[in-house]
Amino acid sequence: MLFKAALGIHQSLRSPSHSSMTRLPISTWNRTERMWNRWSSLLQRGWTKAAAIVCERLDDDLADLIHQLGTLRREINLSPPITIVASLPSIMADLRALHDEFNEVSIDLRRRMISVTTEPIILEGVELGPFAIEWSWMVMERPSHYRVWAIEPNTATSNESATHPHVSSGRLCEGEASYSIRQALSEGRLFDFFLIVRQVLRTYNASSAYVPIDEWYGPPCQECGTCTGNSPQHCGSCDVALCDDCANSCRECRQSLCGSCVDRCPNCEEGYCASCLIPCESCHQPYCLECLDENQLCPSCLETPANPTPDASLHPDSVDEDPNPA
């Protein structure tokens, strides 16, 4: 089986349709154009729900196209790629060496596919499980076409497509490995290809992840930093994530509030959002509705009126009058 696979790969590498030169992503463009036309047609008919589903696929195709064009642009600015194609013995040696490097290696001659399984990947304490890396020599016009998928998925709480910070919907975002991967596949250096992809899976890049690893199980609570799980509360004022223990609640409208956004009625000291506190008509300090009287006066202003009625005996016009008439 090893020899048949190596022979098939070698023949594909040397076929006229394969070239070590990267080519324009024509097939990706065509696929994107077909999806675009389908989406436009659905919108014109007013079939918005169907259009929304197609729109998601169109988004994936556009992302793929942008990615391939970006890679092509980087590659044309590098020195010309070496056009050495691996020999049949070299390919055979690669396939044998994969068994020593990976937990499981399988070759599917019918689908012309090689698949390897990594060890369980753990990034910063988050167990993502083992990953399968699948590459097919059937699609040699797209030598960089391969798939990475989680065998025991532990997807991010906020994004079910993300099985790894750098894997979404079966596609690895290669980052700085992009050129090396393409060169390895173009030259038929399969051992190198699988090794490089595995090292990308073992590496966490905090500056560019589909979901940051510290938010894998939900965003951290802004107050205490613990994981909020898959249904975090959010402050109704500033939108930060909150755990159930740290979230305050407006006594009037019941919306969640963080510690910085909750206001207290000066009288009853209950928590309210800014919108549910009403300014006293006299002192203009914000109070809850229950603590204001029907004239919208706070308890303090009711006790000490702002303009008390002056004493009649002290009135200037009554100075010469008998203050105590008989």
Binding site: A63, H67, L78, I82, I84, A93, D94, A97, D100, E101, P165, H166, V167, S168, L172, C173, E174, G175, E176, A177, Y179, S180, Q183, A184, E187, R189, F191, D192, L195, I196, Q199, V200, L201, R202, T203, N205, S208, A209, Y210
Partner: protein
């Protein structure tokens, strides 16, 4: 002697090199890559190796960074 050297760091490098007879893996690494060898997977003919392993004619040496950062999108 002639060896095949593949470096997966950055933009990558893959080519035949003429090196002095008796050169070791460690000497080749220091000359062509540099830095801390513990940060790399170094393979000779696809097998793990040690710094003091002497290279032979037509050996295939690959150097792959342990940390290769992916991205998102």
């Amino acid at each position: 002697m002639r060896i095949y050297f593949i470096n997966h760091l950055g933009g990558g490098f893959a080519d035949h090199l003429e090196v002095a007879g008796g050169m070791t893996v460690g000497q080749l690494f220091d000359e062509k890559v540099g830095g801390d060898p513990a940060s790399y997977l170094i393979r000779v003919n696809r097998l793990p190796t040690s710094r003091d392993q002497v290279l032979h004619e037509q050996d295939r040496v690959t150097v792959t960074p342990i940390r290769i950062e992916g991205a998102a999108g």
